[in-house]
Structure formats: structure tokens, C-alpha cells
């Protein structure tokens, strides 16, 4: 059965990159455009991996990560936090919120795919 990836991101071009990147793979992709939707989608779909942008409308990626980690239903799902600040300490914050991995924008699509395959190997 195909693994499901949830991508939470508000920029349509970045959504498109991941969509096109994963179109050649067996992963099933679902998308959410803000923190709230992201948390709801994660609870409904229980994906195998979540790509979480750090700066999102409604609630931030860090907050969404914390909520999912606090929920026993979603606590086990690996979450890759993608930040665009690249400030010292951002990786710390991501880890504290419960992120499994951390990627700074601009990321290389190749690199992203490597991380995805590592955390949720294709069936």
C-alpha cells in the first residue's frame, strides 16, 4: 500500500514543487494550506510523514507540530519542519516542538526526497 505524505505549506509554488517531485514516486500526497487544516488533515488521514512549513497562517508550524505530538493518535508520525529563517536556534526550536528532522529553505528537491525516503521508505 502506498505511503501517504501530508504537505502543509501556504505557497502554491512550493506546494507544486513537492507535488511534481512526488508525482514520479509511489507516495500519495495530501496538502493543507494552513496550520489548522494541517492538524485536521493529519488527524483524519493519519499520514506516514508530514512536511511542515514553519511559518503558516492561523497557527504556526511549530504550534501544529506540538499539537500533533500531544495527540496520542498522531504522536508517532514523523514530522519534517521546514524553516525559512535559518536563524541560530531554529533547529533547536523545531526539535523542542517534536520535529523528526529539520530542513532550511531553500532546500534542494533532491535532498528533500532523500529525507522523505529515509523517514518513510517507499513500499
Amino acid at each position: 500500500m502506498a505511503k501517504t505524505i501530508l504537505h502543509v505549506e501556504d505557497n502554491e509554488f512550493n506546494l507544486k514543487i513537492v507535488r511534481q517531485l512526488l508525482s514520479r514516486t509511489s507516495y500519495r500526497l495530501i496538502e493543507a494550506v494552513n496550520g489548522e487544516e494541517g492538524v485536521a488533515a493529519a488527524r483524519n488521514e493519519l499520514p506516514d510523514l508530514i512536511l511542515m512549513d514553519i511559518q503558516l497562517p492561523k497557527i504556526s508550524g511549530l504550534e501544529a507540530t506540538r499539537q500533533l505530538r500531544a495527540d496520542p493518535k498522531t504522536a508517532h508520525i514523523p514530522i519534517v519542519v521546514i524553516t525559512s529563517f535559518a536563524l541560530s536556534g531554529d533547529s533547536e526550536k523545531a526539535k523542542q516542538a517534536g520535529a523528526s528532522a529539520y530542513l532550511a529553505k531553500p532546500y534542494s528537491p533532491r535532498q528533500l526526497l532523500e529525507v522523505v525516503r529515509k523517514l518513510a521508505p517507499e513500499a
Binding site: N11, N14, K16, Q20, S84, F85, S88, K105, Y107, P109
Partner: protein, 553 residues
Amino acid sequence: MPREEVTFPDGSLARHSAPSGWGVRIAYFFLTRTPVGKVVLWIAGIKSSVHAKLLSGFLIVTVLFIAMGALSLQAITHMSRQTALLDQAHNRLDWSRQIQHALALQMNFTAMALLLRDETTVEKILRENNRFNNTLALIAAAAVPEERDIIQRIRVAQGEALTAVADIANLLRDGRADEAMEMQLAKGYPLYEQIAGLVDQIVNFEQTSMRGMRASVAAATRRTQVLLGLFIVASMLLAILLGFVISWSFILPVREAHGFVTEVARGNFNAKINVANRDEFGVLADRMNQMSRDLEVLYEKQRAAAQQLESLNRQLRDANKAKSEFLANMSHELRTPMNAILGFVEMMLDDLYGEVPPNLKEPLKDVQLNGKHLLNLINDVLDLSKIEAGRMELSMAEYSVQDVVDAVGAALRSLALEKGLKFNAGVEPGIPLAYGDGMRITQCLMNLAGNALKFTRQGAVDLWVERQGDRLRFRVSDTGIGIAENEIENVFAEFRQADARISREFGGTGLGLNITKKIVEMHGGRIWVESRLGKGSTFFFEVPLRSRERAGA
């Protein structure tokens, strides 16, 4: 310090906070409970200089003492005059007694002449008569008016007595002794009796007058003693009173000023000094009040300025916060499209959209290269802005110097190979783990080594780290274009590259060295360069082996 308020009889207040002892308490008793306080205020209110007031006080006391001296002198003069009068009276008494003696002798000799019937004895009578007359002349010369009449009568009686003696002498010479005896008894003897009575009168008079004089001298002496005593006591009291009121008319404003200055020192610029004085102390008090008003105005101005500063400070803090938020947002807003641009290009070059036609490969690579360059620029500008805003924070942790050098070597080795440059990266053996922001130190070394590779066309780039006591020294040397002597001091400035042509040829933002310098300084280190134009450059930086983060550089 105890603070006392004293109310004067006229209702005015004296405030002071000077230490007060018994003397001051007694003084305040007199000032507040007796009219002395009013006198003090009156003297203070006299429109005259302190000098004149002091001089007047001393003059008054001096005049009193002069008057006392004059009084004493007068008493002494009076007494010596009385004594002289007494002396004269005494003389007159002496003379009167001599007259009495001479008279007795005359009578004696007359009696002898009659007994002896001897004419020669009469001469003795005449001699005594002369003595009598001479002495009487002395008394007459010194006689007081009351005595003159008696003296005149004595003279007349004496003249008659002498005539009688002459007659008796003639009768004796003629041998008529019985007649002479008769004459003596009828005329001579009564005359002598009369003279003796008159002389007794004078003696009595002198004795009485002498008693009177003695009593009057004694009375005058007593009077003088009492008067002088009173004068001395009065002068002393007046001198003490004058000293007290004059000195307190000066002490009060001084104490008032002391209280005032204490108030001002405590920061009460509303303090007012209120003194009755219209002398120098009054002028001083006016000046002090003026000073207090000026100070208050200054204080108000200063407070307003401080408030303004505080509000400015608040605005600045808000602005700084806004700047930080703006930076965070800008970072996100710039990176998001960069992510899309670089992401799409990479996917195209990875043939995700099918094989790229060969003639498009180069332009796509150019887009990628310039995109990455733009990203570097954005990173540099954001780094610098963070440093400037004090938002750059070091992530302090243990790090391995070898790891830092390895990371830089790994990142740049391929570039060196591409340019045909020798590239050596090494670390002195035995350096322990360092403490600091390893990522930022890596960024610094990467900047320096990247520059060295960029500005070197042939030769070698060497990278070396060694320990200097408790510091780490990083060294990056190249055989590149070098830096002109007059440009060396500018290489660490923002947006400065040694030459505008260089930026066209080699690219770069000109921010790398400035950022490097600031990161090194945040670690408590320093950076410097040795270089000669055309002979290559060597950049050094030193950071403590174990850094303590400094406030934003």
C-alpha cells in the same frame, strides 16, 4: 538630624536642622519667650551692612566704658578737692591753736611784768603779739567768709589790748605799779578774755566745718561706689545683650540657610529661605531663593528631557522590535520564492520534466548559479541586519576545530581543484574541544577561505589552525592578488571591496569580511590581515578556546 521649628514673638518661623546643644536651647528660650526675639528681628531688619551693625555694637559698648571712666575721674577729682579743703581747714585749726597759745603767753608775760615790775618783760609781750598778728594774718588769708567778721573783731580787740599793754608798760616805767595793776585788771585782762572767746569761736567753727566736710566726703565716696557699681553692671548687661542680639541677628539667617541648603541637597527645589535681614544676609537669602527657582526650572527641564528621552527610548525599542519582525518576515518572504526558483531549476536539470535539450542546459545552469548567488547575497544582508539589530545570537556549545576545518575543506576542495590551485587544510595536533558557536566559526573560516580561492588565479591556498595559549588562531594564506597598503584598513568595512573592478571580476557582496569580523568579535576575538599587492594575503583571526558570548557586536 533633628529638625526644629521655632516661632518668634511676631509669629515668624525659623526652621533649622543644625545640631543643637544646651547653649542653643537657652538662646532659643530667650528668642522665643522674651522681647529679645523682637529686638533680634528688628536689628536684622535694619537696612545696613553687617560691618556697620557690628561696628555700632562695639561703639555703643565703648562709649559706655568711656562714660564710666569719665564718671570715675569726676569722682576722684571731687574727692581730692574735698581733701584739699579739709587740709586747709586743718591748717586754720592749727593756726587758731597757735593764736590761742600766743595769747596765753601774752597774758602770762603781762602778768609776769606786773609781778616783777620789770619793763623788759614787756618786750616779750610784744614779741608774742607779733607772732599772734602774723598767724592771724595767715588765718585771715585762708578764712571763709563766715570767719572774717570774727577775725576783724579779734584784730580790733588785739589793737586795744596792745594799747593797754603799752600803757601798762609806761606806768611801770614811771614806777606806778599799782596803777598799772589796776589798768591791767580794768582793761587788759577783759580784752584778753574777749580775744580768747573769739579765738575759741573760730576753733569751734573750724572743728564743726571739718566734721561736716568729713561726712560729705564719706557720703560722696559711698555715692560714687554705688554709681560706679551700677554703671559697671549696666554696661556689662548691655554689652551681653548687644552681643547676643547682634550675633543672633546673623546666626539666625545662617541657620536658616543651613536648613535651606539641606532641603535643596535633598532635592526639594521648592525650598524657600525667609529671613528678616536686610543686610548682606538678606541679599544672600534673595540670591539663594533665586538659585532655588533656577534649580527648579532646570530640574523641570531636565525631568521633561528625561521623559522625552524615555519616550524616545520606548519608540526606539518598538522600532527595533518592528525591525526584527520585519527581518524575520523578509527572510521568509525572500526565501520562499527563492525556494521555488531553485527547486524548479534543480528539478529541470534533474530531468524531472523529461530530458533537457542540450542548448538549454547552460542557460538553466546560469539561472541556478545566479539564483544561488542571489541567495548568498540575501543571506549576507540578513546576517548583517541581524547583527546590526543585535538579533544575532551565538549558539554556544562544544565544537571540534578539526570538524570545522574538515567542513570547510570538503566544501571548497572541488572549487580549488577546478581552478587548478593547491589547497592545504590542517590543524595543530592535540587541540582540545573548543567552546563557541561552531557553525558561525565555520562560516567565518568559509568566508576567508572562499575569498582566498576567489582572489587567487594560480598558486596555493593554505588553511591552518593552531593554539596560542588560551586562544585559537586561524590562518588563511593565499598567493592571490593581494591588497594595496592604503586599502588594508578598509577590507573589514561593510560593502567595501578593495577595488570596484574586483567586484566585477570576482563578484561578492563585500559583506563577508564584515560579518566575519563581527562574529569573531562576538566571540571575544580579533581579526587582522597581512598583505602586499600582487604578493598574496594572509588573514588571521583569534578566538578564545572557550568563549563567553558578548553582547551583539
